[in-house]
């Protein structure tokens, strides 16, 4: 007779340094059912942004929703509001915004890969990847003045311009980073303990990914062609050479493979942005107050980030709704765990790259 055990994981756990709790029902070592509890640190950001803060202050607030994709949060909000106050944004500002989104993707994907290495027992590789991530964050600091939680995007454009010296620093940085990324990719694609043993582990089919509305690398690794960068016209992705990365298998290996290829894509797009960066102002004058409703979808490192805003011509918004990629990904995560070995849970979790800070906004 098989023995049934209920195992809690979180809300504080060494394999999951964020406030979420899973409860696994197992028979011997096999997971038969999972419950996820995400309601630990709700921070009331939506309420704060519609009661305490004026609409022009909100980009600074929502940049604090998440330390990993701060730019995507403030940019999503800003793009939504800009639709209902009729402000013309210069091409230069849109290019600079996109530049930062792609640098954000680089350091976020690196963090995920570092955690995967750590979980597999590759502590030196973890340190090495975190060191590479530091290089990217240094470039972001050159552009915005901050390593994290950048207040770079504002309604009407961006707060800081870049000059030729900063552009050269970014290009030199990527020149240094790219061969190192290639080394990391080589390891993640060919090392048994780090990646090959994860083929077939934590897998989701394309059909289930669609049914459960999986997003980002989680969905694309299962063969589902969904990437907001290919589905929106607000940011100039069609001009900077974006190509969607899709893989097959839907397992841990495929998810990391997608991230590694996407990082090469991001490097290419950053170079294209700097090469084609239009001249012009970076900040347009903003007049009036938001009236009406608007939504925006952007591709954050973990998938689709959604913002809805509604204004009634006052300085405070009537409603702001944030839907983050990890929030949408939880049903798929729960499904993936079923049937897996409990010992693989830390590796599967790391491959989701969950962000509970985003989820508990």
């Amino acid at each position: 007779m098989r023995k049934s055990i209920s195992i809690p994981l979180g809300s504080q756990h060494i394999a999951l340094l964020e406030p979420v709790r899973f409860r696994f029902e197992t028979q011997n070592e096999t997971i038969t059912n999972v419950e996820a509890d995400v309601g630990y640190v709700h921070r009331g950001v939506e309420r704060a942004c519609t009661s305490h803060f004026e609409f022009k202050q909100v980009p600074t607030v929502v940049a604090r929703v998440c330390g990993l994709c701060a730019i995507t949060h403030s940019l999503s909000y800003t793009l939504a509001v800009e639709q209902i106050i009729s402000v013309e944004i210069s091409s230069r500002a849109q290019y600079l915004r996109t530049l930062m989104v792609e640098l954000d993707r680089l350091h976020s994907h690196l963090l995920c890969l570092a955690h995967t290495a750590e979980n597999a027992g590759f502590e030196a590789l973890f340190m090495q990847i975190m060191g590479e991530r530091e290089l990217i964050m240094g470039l972001q600091e050159q552009i915005t003045g901050n390593r994290v939680q950048f207040d770079f995007v504002t309604i009407g454009g961006v707060n800081r311009d870049i000059d030729s010296q900063i552009a050269k620093t970014i290009l030199d940085g990527l020149e240094t980073f790219e061969p190192r990324l290639e080394e990391i990719r080589e390891l993640f694609e060919n090392n048994w303990s780090l990646s090959l043993k994860y083929k077939g582990v934590g897998a989701i089919s394309k059909e289930n990914a669609a049914k459960l509305n999986a997003l980002g690398p989680l969905a694309r690794a299962a063969g589902l062609r969904t990437d907001v960068r290919a589905e929106q016209s607000v940011l100039p992705y069609s001009e900077i050479g974006f190509e969607m990365v899709v893989a097959q298998g839907g397992d841990i290996y495929a998810r990391n493979h997608v991230r590694l290829l996407e990082m090469h894509q991001s490097i290419k797009m950053v170079r294209n942005i700097l090469e084609a960066l239009p001249e012009g102002e970076i900040l347009s004058k903003v007049r009036g107050k938001p009236e009406g409703e608007a939504l925006i979808r952007l591709e954050a490192p973990r998938g689709e980030l959604f913002y809805y805003v509604k204004g009634n011509k006052s300085t405070t918004l009537e409603r702001m709704r944030i839907k983050t990629p990890t929030f949408s990904g939880i049903p798929a995560m729960v499904e993936i765990f079923k049937g897996q070995e409990y010992g693989d849970v830390p590796a599967i979790l790391a491959s989701f790259d969950p962000c509970m800070s985003c989820t508990a906004k």
Partner: protein, 113 residues
């Protein structure tokens, strides 16, 4: 964004006719407190298309219970749970407490809370 109005009574039938999992990606559910009740919105984006988002919405009185879309779109239960906690809207089969503890400020996005 294309907005399509429906009613609580017709909502599930409309969804069964509209929602094809291979064509539409369910984005999320949203709620607005209109002062007289709720406006409930469901957002969908079309795969492999450009800027194509559809929003189904309906109005519901404060005290009424609305159907859950989770039987059709299983992942929707989280968004519905969030709206139950944040607005105090009643959704069939969705219980309070998914996001807010009992000692938190209740229904924080409802007017006057």
């Amino acid at each position: 964004m294309q907005k399509i109005e429906t009613s609580p009574a017709n909502f599930m039938a409309d969804m069964e006719q509209f929602y094809d999992v291979s064509i539409w990606h369910f984005i999320t559910i949203n709620c607005l407190d209109t002062g007289e009740g709720f406006e409930v919105q469901y957002f969908f984006a079309k795969y492999d298309s450009f800027d194509e988002v559809v929003c189904y919405f309906f109005y519901s009185p404060y005290e009424a219970s609305i159907p859950s879309i989770a039987p059709l779109i299983p992942s929707a239960y989280l968004g519905e749970g969030e709206m139950v906690d944040m607005f105090g809207i009643q959704i069939d089969g969705i219980e309070k407490g998914m996001f807010l503890d009992a000692d938190s400020l209740q229904t924080p996005l409802r007017r006057g809370s």
